[in-house]
Structure formats: C-alpha cells, structure tokens
C-alpha cells in the first residue's frame, strides 16, 4: 500500500490497478474526485470526530459517577454535553453512513462510474472539514454551552460562550450534507446503469434516496435558523427575543422542523445497511421489497410532520399537541413495518452468523427498544412526565447509537473487504459486536429507569437526589465497556489493512452490483459497463448449483 515510489513499480507488475493504488501522495487524495477516495477521506475524518465526541461522553459519564459535581466545573460539564451533542450529531452521525458507505456504494450499486457531480462531492468534504475545523477551534478556545439544541433566548442573549462560531461551523457542515444529498438524488435519478430499474434498486439505495430528500429539504431550514439566531445575538433583531416582541417558540418550531427529520437522516441509511446484510446472510430476497422501499419514503415524508412532539410541554396549544401526537404514531408505523419485514425475511432463510449479521441482529434488538420507547414519548400524558429526562436520553441513544451506529459498524464490516480488499479478523469482529451490544445496554437501559424516576437531563450535579446514584454507576460502567467495543473495530480494521488476508471480489457471495467488480474496485468501478438483467437480491440464482450460476457481469 505504501510502496509508492516509481522505482518499485516493476515489483508490482502483477498487481491490478485499483482506486487505491492508482496514484499515491497526499495531493492524489486531497484533490481526488473519485467517490471512493472521498468516502475514505470522510471515513477518516468522521472517525476522528467520533472519538472526540466519545471522549466527551466518557467524561460526562465519569462526572455522573458520583452525585456531587467533583470532576469538572459546572460550565465545563455544560460544554462537554453540548459539544458531545454537536460533534456526534453534525460531525459524526449525519455524515456517517451517507458520506462514507453511501458515497462509496451508491454509484457502484446503481452501476455508475461516479456520483453525478464528483467535484461537488469533493467540495462537500472540504465544507465538512472547514466546519469541523471551526468546531475544533471553537472547542479549543473556550467552547460553547448552549446544548446542541441551542434554545433561544439562552443562546441568543444569555450565554457568554462562543455560540456564533459553533453556529457557523454547523451551518457550513450543513451545506456539506445538502451537497451529498443533492449528489445522491441526481445520481439515483440519472446515472443508473441500463436495466437498473427503480424496482431493481437495492433497498440501501431507497434508504439513501429518502435520506437525501430530508437532507435537501430540512437542512436549509436549520441553516436559516442559525443565521437568524446569530443575527439576533449580534444585532438584537427581536425575531426570537420575547423582550422585543419576538417568540422563542418560533425558534423551537424552526429548529425541530429540521432536527426531528435529522433523526431519520441518521437512522434511514442504517436501515438500508441492515436490509442488505439481512438479505445476504439469510440468503434471501427481502420479504416485501416494495413495502420496505416505500416505508423509507413514508418515513421521510411523515418525518417532516411531527416536529412539535419535542414541544409538548414547551407552551404550544393542546390542540396542536394532539395533532402532532397523532402524526407521531403515523411515523412509527413504517418503522414497525420494516422491523416485521426484516423478521419475516429470516423465515425459511439459511442464516449465517458472520460479524455483519451479528451487528444486524444487534440493530434489530436495540432499534426495536428505541422505537417502542418512542411510543411512550409520543403518548401525550407520559411525555409530560418523561420529556427532558434521562428517558429521552436513553430513547434517542437507542435509536441513534444503538440503531444508527450498529448499522454503520455492521456495514463497515460487510463492505470492508470491498473497500480495502482485505478481510478483517472474523473472531475479533464477533467479539466486538458482542461487547458493543452488552456495553450499550448496560449504559443506556438504566437511563430509562432514571428518566421515569424523574432525573432531568443535562444535570451536572445530582447531590439533591443521591438516590439516583446506583443507576448512574451502572451506566458509567457500561460506557467503558462500550468504549472498548468501539475501539476494537478501529484497531483490527487498521491491522487488517496491512496484515489481513486478501479478499476475493465477492467474499460473501452477495447480490448487488458492487460485488460484481474487483475488491478493491478500479477507479471507474467497473471494467465493463454493467447491464442489469436480474432482480434485486437474486440469492436464489447466486446459491444455485454451479451449472446455472451467472458468472460475470454483462
């Protein structure tokens, strides 16, 4: 991999040209327009931010080990949870699957040579990096303590931390997300290979299509909201300031109009990944393909209509609360449909227990718990009691860490042979999946109980209610286990890049165009332009006895 000097070229004369060895050197990466290389740039950068956010999380958990505030100052704690949220949401979860696996796989899965706008794709990474650098600068020079939700008038008039800088960082990163979504929508519409009809698309693509719609229509709203808050802070416009006749609730409406659908930006791609994994390791076509595909779109659409369920105690009218509660149940249905279809896909399958499948099982369990606790939160009467408590914290971590991150890790394992051309160590990977699952539940399940007991979130010091300590200790203990579980994959992925066994083109014998090219793929993805003549998830043909098996692409 690192033998880049022209003098050693003769030694590699039998090596096939891939996107990895086509060119070496820093500039061949920093100026690349190859979606696969950009995916790797994203992979490195989001991993960096993931570990920063994870470090903050560990400090938060350590602080909460004892009721008194004894590890850090109150202000520091507030900055820790704010930046944990901002980094994890805007710089890890939102770009996680779309910008890495999506970037790598969307063109390959539809049979294209690249995304529709490769230079815009690179621009999106640079925007992400500029936003990330600003965020880092902000954190290193004082940080911000508004909570990731930066509610006015606290963020606009009261905090004396660097909200504007953090806001600009999120604004810029938001445009990176918009550009990724734009590229996906155009690519999926216009760049499909001959024969790749909509009904033959992998469900991963459907999920990314739905995600892109949300990125495109939601992100601009939070962008303008940030602009308005920053302007409010700098110029005292009065739009959100009750002392000047403005309405702080308008901010919350605008904020959640993006930030609720943003949850689906995080979870939908993960659902797409899990769908691919389950089909492959059950050796089956996905049960109810159409229902799974359209449920993604339904989630994207309904996701835009439920934002005010974050505001049931914020002072909105009881009647609008009624409507939003109802719609929240409407958006729960498509998720339930997906879970049932995944389960049904297992029926009469031929199930393999490789690491990606273990992650998918983990996803199923954790996402189900996360989704079902969403039913509690959508129930108005219970919401009043548990909103803004650890119940909410546990719920969204089950969705966004249990769900989205499990899917992300599962996907990384599933496609790692394709991305790197190397096999990861299977035993370690299964162990990591187990550790993550146990650590996750140990960390976050106690928080449901804490929440119903009434422990509010974002509390630095709970010496007023020491009875909450036992559950907090459990949670902190779990978080260290979880930390180990997340470090392991990074270690063995890096290890496998050098020492892993070379992967074949299709180590899982999986369906999907990306498996019908070399591992790692050539720069233009396919040596011969693919022509699709088969349905998605044609595992029946793939597992058929050799004489009838389709050997090559087009």
């Amino acid at each position: 991999m690192s033998m880049g000097m022209p003098t050693v070229v003769p030694q590699q004369r039998f090596e096939r040209e891939t996107y990895l060895n086509k060119a070496y050197g820093v500039w061949s990466w920093l100026l690349t327009t190859d979606h696969k290389r950009i995916a790797l740039l994203y992979l490195v950068s989001i991993t960096f931010f993931f570990f920063i956010g994870g470090f903050f999380a560990l400090l938060i958990r350590l602080e909460l080990l004892t009721p008194a505030g004894d590890l850090v100052q109150a202000d520091t704690y507030n900055k820790l949870f704010t930046q944990h949220g901002m980094v994890m949401i805007f710089f890890f979860l939102i770009p996680s699957i779309p910008a890495t696996l999506g970037n790598f796989l969307v063109p390959m899965m539809v049979g294209a040579k690249d995304l529709a706008f490769p230079r815009i794709n690179l621009l999106s990474w640079y925007l992400y990096i500029i936003g990330g650098a600003l965020m880092l600068h902000c954190m290193l020079t004082g940080g911000v303590d508004t909570g990731w939700t930066f509610y006015v008038p606290f963020s606009s008039n009261f905090t004396n931390t660097k909200f504007v800088e953090a806001g600009i960082a999120i604004f810029i990163a938001g445009f990176s997300s918009i550009l990724t979504g734009l590229n996906f929508v155009v690519t999926i519409h216009r760049m499909r290979a001959p024969g790749m009809t909509w009904s033959r698309l992998p469900l991963f693509i459907w999920a990314h299509y739905a995600t892109s719609i949300i990125q495109l229509l939601g992100t601009p709203v939070v962008a303008i909201t940030i602009v308005l808050v920053a302007a409010e802070r700098a110029l005292h416009l009065g739009i959100f300031d009750p002392r000047l006749g403005g309405d702080p609730l308008l901010f919350q409406h605008l904020f959640w109009f993006y930030s609720h659908p943003a949850v689906y930006i995080m979870i939908l791609p993960s659902m797409g990944v899990v769908t691919e994994i389950i089909a492959c390791f059950a050796r089956k076509r996905i049960f109810g393909y159409q229902f799974v595909a359209f449920s993604s779109i339904a989630i994207a659409v309904f996701g835009f209509l439920v934002w005010a369920h974050h505001m049931f105690v914020a002072g909105i009218s009881v009647y609008s609360a009624l409507v939003f509660s109802f719609l929240s149940y409407a958006v729960a249905l498509p998720s339930a449909i997906k879970v049932f279809n995944w389960t049904a896909t297992l029926y009469k399958g031929s199930i393999h227990y490789d690491a990606p499948m273990l992650y998918a099982f983990g996803f199923l369990g954790l996402f189900t718990i996360g989704g079902l606790t969403g039913l509690f939160l959508a129930a108005l009467g219970i919401n009043v009691h548990v909103t803004d408590t650890y119940f909410v914290v546990a719920h969204f971590h089950y969705i966004m860490v249990g769900g989205a991150l499990m899917g992300y890790l599962g996907g990384m394992h599933f496609w790692w042979p394709k991305i790197s051309g190397k096999l990861y160590p299977e035993g370690w990977a299964r162990l990591a999946a187990l550790i993550v699952f146990i650590g996750f539940n140990l960390t976050f399940f106690p928080q449901f109980v804490l929440g119903y007991l009434g422990m509010p979130r974002r509390y630095y010091d709970y010496s007023h209610m020491p009875e909450f300590q036992v559950l907090n200790v459990l949670s902190t203990a779990g978080s260290t286990v979880l930390g180990v579980g997340y470090l392991l994959p990074m270690v063995y992925f890096l290890w496998s890049m050098r020492y892993g066994k070379p992967a074949s083109d299709n180590p899982w014998n999986a369906a999907g165009l990306e498996w019908r090219t070399a591992s790692p793929p050539p720069t233009l993805n396919f040596d011969v332009e693919p022509v699709v003549t088969w349905e998605a998830y044609n595992y029946e043909e793939l597992d058929a006895p050799p004489q009838t098996q389709e050997v090559t692409v087009g």
């Binding site: 303590d145 939700t149 509610y151 606290f154 008039n157 009261f158 905090t159 009750p242 006749g245 702080p248 050796r283 076509r285 049960f287 109810g288 229902f291 049931f312 105690v313 914020a314 002072g315 909105i316 009218s317 009881v318 009624l322 509660s325 149940y329 449909i337 879970v339 049932f340 279809n341 389960t343 297992l346 029926y347 009469k348 399958g349 031929s350 199930i351 189900t368 079902l372 039913l375 509690f376 959508a378 129930a379 108005l380 009467g381 219970i382 919401n383 009043v384 009691h385 909103t387 119903y452 007991l453 009434g454 509010p456 974002r458 630095y460 709970y462 007023h464 009875e467 595992y539 029946e540």
Partner: protein, 333 residues
C-alpha cells in the same frame, strides 16, 4: 404499592396514578411487541441457521401479512394515542377554582408567591387534597417546572404566563427540578415541594408577615396611578377593571379575546397591542418599569376585584377535564 418500589417514582398527586396506569399499559403492550419480535428473530435464527445442502426458500412477500401488521399496530397506537391525549388534557386544564400560586423563574432559582402573600425561594408549600394552579413566568431564559412525584412539567417562558396544576395526595417533601437547560447552574435550580396537611398548611400560610398578593397589587395599582384612569365608575379614561377577568373583551380592531392572565399581563406591558374598544390609546407601557413580581401582584389584584367564585372552593380535581370553561394556560399567545 408502587410507592415502596425503589425503581418507581413516588406517586403523590391525582395525576400520578393516571400517568402510571398508562405507563404500565404501555410497558405491557410494548413488552409484548418486543417479546414477539425478539422471539421470532431468535427462533428463526436458530431454526433456519445455515445447514449444508439446505437452501433458503425465496418468498416474495405477502400483502395480507403486510396489511395485518400495519393495521393491528395502528389500532394499538390509536388506543395509546387516545389514552395519552385524555391524560394530557387533564394535565393541561386547571380546575377553575384552584388555589393560585405565582412562580417567577430566573437563573438559577424559583421564586414563589402565594395569593396570601407568603413568599418562598426554591420551595413550595401546598396543602394536601386541594387543587393548586401555578401561574409561571421567567425573567430570563426558558426554564421548566418539573415535579416528578406529581408527574407534571411545564416550560416557563419569558414574556408570557404558562400554567401548571396538580392536586397533591400525600403529605411529604418531593423534588422540584428545572427540566429545561438554562445555563451554568441548571442542575442547582432544584428545590422542594412540601405537601402539608390542611391544618399545618393553614398555620404555615398565615405565619407570614406580608399581606395578600392582591393587596400588594392594589397598593402598586395606586402607586403607579393606574386608578386615575381605571376608575370603577364609567367616567374613567380607561376601562373599568371590575369583573373583567375571565370575560370576553371586545378589542378596538374588532377581535374578541378572553381576559385571562396572559391578556392582563400583555395589557400592562404592551397596552397598544390589544386595546379595548371605545378607549383611546393613551396608556403608557410599563415594560421595564415593573418587575415580574409586580406584574403578578397587579394581575392578582385585577383578578381579585373580579372574584365570583366561592372562596376556598374544593372541587373534585379531575372533573371532566376537557369541558372546563377555563381558558387554556398553555395556549400560544
């Protein structure tokens, strides 16, 4: 029975039992759903594990199944939705004759003022078995008044009143939390709700030195010169405020609004916005001239001269929540 279970919050209000009943129902329903999914996944995963020579059986899907597992959850969801909405409506609709307490939140404390004039900080004394309505506002950022043992929570906003109510059922001391992140000492913005037996409460409430809140308001009303225009005969340059509270008011621009707390408050701070029909826009704004506490006192005074309800009314707390005529406290604007 749940009160002694350490993983269950104390139940100390009439609402607590209702919220818990729904919660237990949901625990059972979602527990069954989770169990169903998990059992199926585990059974399928074990039963259909990869065996040499056995190939997966391809199944395209089944519309009948899809409809079944869409429609059944939908009806279950609707039951939860309706039940949740009913509980919410009673959480949100204070009984008309509730004892009123004014709460002013600021970074980082709760200031409480009883109608009888007692003031407290980070503490709230309430009697057992009587409906208490909190009329809350904030001096700075958004806070949230949360009493887990009562299962009530309401954000407290600057620039307007929001309302929360409960009826304590058990004497004791309970946690009061600020549940909306409000800055450095957010976690220090905690206090105690002290629920007293009626007799103890009477002793406590009469132990203070201040006069009733409405009397304070009356004094401020006179000091600010309000009474020169708002006279009780029909000669005043401002509307007669006697009996105005809770009644519909016709505005100069043709609209009709109900004179609730938020309206009275707005009229003091922004008199031009909703001027009463037939009066000139001559009242100056008192924005910045009166503190939140003084506004509360003025509102309490204006309400006191509109008093129609029997004093110390003890009504059943959860009498038909939805058809209470009371204007809704959590309404925007």
């Amino acid at each position: 029975m749940l009160n002694d279970f350490p993983l269950w919050p104390q139940q100390a209000s009439t609402l607590a039992h209702r919220v818990d009943a729904l919660y237990i129902f949901l625990l059972i329903v979602t527990g069954m759903m989770a169990l169903l999914v998990c059992t199926l996944v585990i059974v399928f995963a074990a039963r259909f594990r990869n065996r040499p020579g056995v190939r997966a059986e391809q199944i395209e899907g089944s519309n009948a199944l899809e409809i079944t597992w869409s429609v059944i959850p939908f009806f279950v969801f609707m039951v939860i939705f309706a039940w949740g909405a009913v509980v919410y409506f009673s959480q949100r609709t204070p009984p008309a004759d509730a004892t009123e307490v004014y709460v002013v939140a600021k970074q980082w404390m709760w200031k409480v003022e009883h109608a009888e004039g007692q003031r407290e900080i980070n503490e709230l004394h309430v009697p057992v078995g009587r409906d208490v309505k909190l009329i809350m506002t904030s001096q700075d950022v958004i806070h949230s008044f949360y009493i887990p043992a009562f299962r009530v929570k309401q954000d407290v906003l600057p620039g307007r009143y929001t309302v929360e109510w409960f009826r304590a059922t058990k004497p004791g001391t309970y946690h009061l939390f600020c549940a909306e992140y409000c800055g450095t000492q957010h976690s220090g913005m905690v206090g105690d709700i002290v629920v007293l037996e009626p007799a103890q409460y009477e002793a406590w409430i009469n132990g203070g030195s201040n006069g009733p809140l409405s009397a304070t308001g009356e004094k401020i009303f006179a000091e600010l010169g309000c009474s020169t225009c708002h006279r009780t005969d029909m000669q005043g340059r401002g509307p007669n405020l006697q009996g105005v509270y809770g009644k519909p008011v016709e505005l100069a621009d043709g609209r009709t609004v109900t004179a609730d707390e938020n309206y009275l408050r707005e009229c003091i701070l922004d008199p031009g916005a909703k001027r009463v029909k037939g009066f000139q826009p001559i009242m100056p704004t008192f924005q910045g001239l009166v503190s939140e506490e003084q506004v509360n006192a003025l509102v309490a005074y204006i309400k006191s001269i509109s008093e129609t309800k029997p004093a110390g009314g003890m009504k059943t707390a959860n009498a038909g929540a939805a058809n209470q005529p009371q204007s809704n406290g959590s309404q925007v604007q």
